[in-house]
Symmetry: D2
Subunit: 363 residues, 4 copies
Amino acid sequence: MRETRVSRIAMAAPDDVSGIAAAIAVGAIRADAVVAIFAKTEGNGCVNDFTRAFAAQTLRLLLTEHVGAAAAARVALVMSGGTEGALAPHFLVFEVLESAAPAPGGDALAVGVHLTRAMAPEEVGRLAQVEAVAQGTRAAMAEAGIASARDVHFVQVKCPLLTSDRIADAVRRGHPPRTDQTLKSMGFSRGAAALGVALALEEIAPDLAEERIGTDVSLYSSRASTSAGVELMVNEIIVLGRSAAWGGPLRIDHAVMADAIDTAPIYAALGRAGLAPTGQLAPDARDKVVAVLAKAEPSQSGTLRGRRHTMLNDSDISPTRHARGFVAGVLAAIFGHAELFVSGGAEHQGPDGGGPVAIITRD
Amino acid sequence: MRETRVSRIAMAAPDDVSGIAAAIAVGAIRADAVVAIFAKTEGNGCVNDFTRAFAAQTLRLLLTEHVGAAAAARVALVMSGGTEGALAPHFLVFEVLESAAPAPGGDALAVGVHLTRAMAPEEVGRLAQVEAVAQGTRAAMAEAGIASARDVHFVQVKCPLLTSDRIADAVRRGHPPRTDQTLKSMGFSRGAAALGVALALEEIAPDLAEERIGTDVSLYSSRASTSAGVELMVNEIIVLGRSAAWGGPLRIDHAVMADAIDTAPIYAALGRAGLAPTGQLAPDARDKVVAVLAKAEPSQSGTLRGRRHTMLNDSDISPTRHARGFVAGVLAAIFGHAELFVSGGAEHQGPDGGGPVAIITRD
Amino acid sequence: MRETRVSRIAMAAPDDVSGIAAAIAVGAIRADAVVAIFAKTEGNGCVNDFTRAFAAQTLRLLLTEHVGAAAAARVALVMSGGTEGALAPHFLVFEVLESAAPAPGGDALAVGVHLTRAMAPEEVGRLAQVEAVAQGTRAAMAEAGIASARDVHFVQVKCPLLTSDRIADAVRRGHPPRTDQTLKSMGFSRGAAALGVALALEEIAPDLAEERIGTDVSLYSSRASTSAGVELMVNEIIVLGRSAAWGGPLRIDHAVMADAIDTAPIYAALGRAGLAPTGQLAPDARDKVVAVLAKAEPSQSGTLRGRRHTMLNDSDISPTRHARGFVAGVLAAIFGHAELFVSGGAEHQGPDGGGPVAIITRD
Amino acid sequence: MRETRVSRIAMAAPDDVSGIAAAIAVGAIRADAVVAIFAKTEGNGCVNDFTRAFAAQTLRLLLTEHVGAAAAARVALVMSGGTEGALAPHFLVFEVLESAAPAPGGDALAVGVHLTRAMAPEEVGRLAQVEAVAQGTRAAMAEAGIASARDVHFVQVKCPLLTSDRIADAVRRGHPPRTDQTLKSMGFSRGAAALGVALALEEIAPDLAEERIGTDVSLYSSRASTSAGVELMVNEIIVLGRSAAWGGPLRIDHAVMADAIDTAPIYAALGRAGLAPTGQLAPDARDKVVAVLAKAEPSQSGTLRGRRHTMLNDSDISPTRHARGFVAGVLAAIFGHAELFVSGGAEHQGPDGGGPVAIITRD
């Protein structure tokens, strides 16, 4: 029987892994049990955000030190940039351990990881990427022993983006990519990955037309969270869900925000976890929440509850940066702190302007 | 007996006053009764934000059309830039009318306006500005018939800032200003104006040492909201409070946030107004809230609830822009929309990292 | 016989028209002779740059004061935002006067102005806009008495852009625009306007396929300079050229930069004007240059002289802002100051990464 | 007899050291001879620029692979962020080799390196830092065998900056730093380091009053180039100069720009090197220039040649970013490409608004 352990650890800079190293040193984390590490790093979260690759390089060095290069390479690193507003840069370290005991009265947090093959630049944002991620999601579910899509509560995917170089390369080979805009490629990639998850979880019909990727906001997964980065061309998939076959004190549930301030589903999910704040979680309840993972994006309609927002017209600050900082405030108001995994760009992840929110709690 | 009327009107651009013009045309606003107009405009809210002056110019043209230039010049225009996150650009038009009837069972919203003399650049951020604003606040209270500081719930001040030209001019005259940094001058100006309000409301002792302006975070007003702009050298002061001598259906109350996510005082104030949401205001309750005015700033400590934020170290996005977008999310999560008057830079306005929130409701 | 007068006047802020007002007061500018005013204003030069509309509004007020509203409305206002690097915000005021005498030994500066009809959002970036601008260019040439395309040296066009609202409106009417990206709409609009000029000047064949607009960098005008703004839906066209039918001391010539640092053509043009600096213009020669108008854009190849640039991948600073500041340095190094009309976004204006440079000199 | 070799190598990303690795593999660079590596990396060049530390980490890994950790730690890494405009990210690798032969007819490029002790946060921007850098500069000159200050042509210093954490730490220990503003700390640090160089090179008198650091623009070194970064608390000093005791084909000279477009001194220096372009260097001449190192900053006066610039008032783009992109254009117009080492923030480095330019050429 397996058990998931999740450690939320602050970082003082993108290359500050001292908190993880200290946890390993005292045995609070077993390096050989680590399957995935998420990070919110303090870059701009858009095309030229090198804090993600910097954190990834530093983590690989630390892991290699402990488990060797081959094992270190197998750990899924999901580096998401952008800590706008009061968002606190941090790591979420996921380990899979032997379980001490089965979970009392219900399913425990289960995790499965899968890395797809590398995408060619011209596959990014297209059906080939959707299919790769769908297969990868099913493989990760199988690894986690989660049989039913219903028990999947969060699928985090780190996917590629196109730089000018990669675009130029594809064009030279006679295979123009989906877009020649680097920032736009991030959206297409996130969208295709999210639809791959939606396919695997049977949230959309299998006959997806390619041109609907990135355009048809009615298609979405309510449990996908995808982030694009320059440092990889594979898709890294981490499935989080429930399983009676897993033990330990951690649980997971999710909510779907219909727009950027739709807090009712979050309160409902907290209620199901036995935490029912009026307003903000009190300190004891706050400590029972181990991690919050959410998506943020500006609604394409240009409005929120019928009133105009300016996020799509601001040439000084990218729309995803605006949305992350804003939704961070919404969530921090509920959870009582801002050490939250909020990532930007929720194409096909929840309804337009909204997004999924996963909540990991401990008994 | 007087009565305050407040109209919250959307704008499609900084020079879009069509909503106000339409309200005047149908008699929903009486141009000759307007005493103050607040605006959240969609510039960067920092030094080079010209949307404030653009909106001001356009408003003066509209008002002049209706009441002539002299009367138009007497209307206090408080233009605050920065609509980060989902903040909706809008106007708040304040009129003073003859009251139909006294307010049932309690004090109604009262408003008083005062423009101080122009500040010389070297007075910005210094005791001279504190004193001018203190006198102006008392004058505005007298005009509003508010005798006790206890009945003042919000004092909005629009204050000057220093451009390179103004700094150079003062230096040439042998009177170096408080700072030679344009962005820093905004903070000093806001801080001095806030301390002027604090003096008038007896929130601080009268023997204020000049070097504490902008440095001593233990000194603050819990009801001041100050915003700096390039388009004026006077301080425009609008006092909002309660008075038994005023009638009408509008009420005002305030809360003081101890940090950027301290929502409890806001819920308490809503409770006192007979609106007690668990989480977010329901639509009917939402409509009873006419206006929300709040301050936002990053805590100087660099943390929120003990976790590091990056707002002070981000050279790409100004700290006040980060803070506005984040606090906008916190408040929108409660009020159910983002057409909120959130301004940045809360020096001496509430505790470090927090700020005052005023709520105007209708019976 | 007509004569063009050009006054280059500094501005202290987007609404500072005092320099123009002073020139009118002393008779250095005749308000009733003004046909066009260009401005470099200090906004971001991208979608949410309101300094352009602010300057335009302020200019109209000034002109109306002097010549009445109808005549003021006929003056072409070409407001171009973005004063990166050391670019100095300024106006270029063009008047058409009765000529004292014909130009000695050659053609003098001639100017013609034309405003096209308003574009519907769905026409922006499409053949309809190309055609409208081509017709407008021919009309402006006719007005200026310039018969041959060869004698046209600069065509400045101010064209529309799409905001989220305008896009949504067109979609609602069943006519989706060329793009749903506001920033991208600026590029399409500039490109279509430039190709309209190219058509009129016979620089491209008449059978233009619509999909080549904004994509085929081999098509361009070597004399068009187009800038997009939110404050208009017409295309304002100003043709500058030479004509034996015009008198006065002003001349115009142009160069075409093949890339951002191709200075040889500029030196050649200066040579033809009798000014031949080695390096930088000496002060006397500097004063003979009345105005410099140029385009700047990052090369789509992502390189300059074979070395990688980062302008297309920077999510913090828009590519056109980068390019304007850089090319401003290139030109200032030659002309000896930075009060230069450098605008961004040179789609179909000169070769990829380069652009036209017009130089107005006085004898 | 020693000889300096300088290799200028492009990078595709801050962690792309493949060009250096390839050069080592073919023997074009000897890893054990490397004494210093400069880099222009593509971050924002301000406080939160992590590309510098990322490049440094990657270089140390590469060097360690070849020469072991101890030797790798002795290599001075001067990572300067900010590649605005068309600036091409690149490395400059400096080796010291045994000389094949003495330089024909004159002095050859000599290099000396020195790392000072770590600065405490409260020493940054103060006399202690000035003194440490002065001593370090003399030590580096001695190492390079350069006896006379007259033969020093460029002193590059990488110096520390203060983050919120470092500031808070110093305050806690009862030693408040020179400033509590992170961005401002960079300026103070650069300024103190530059004055340290000025002291060592006898460009200023030894009795420097601390309050003049960062304020008195009349004090400067005409050969210092200092850059601040978050990744170090020491000052890394590289002295470049001439020495008859060194051989090889490389020479160095320098110019001092009096303002951002003062190109005459650069042309004069090129003339002394036997390269005398009218305008831009022709391709053969271009290839004789191995490296160009320059400083850029906005003039504190707010003007360039009497015309207003907006770099100090732009809250969206930091002044040093503006200045780097602009001066990059000025220099690229002369040198014929933009693979230039232009760093920002020239406090006490050349006159206000200007800065030193070093040129390394090969015979």
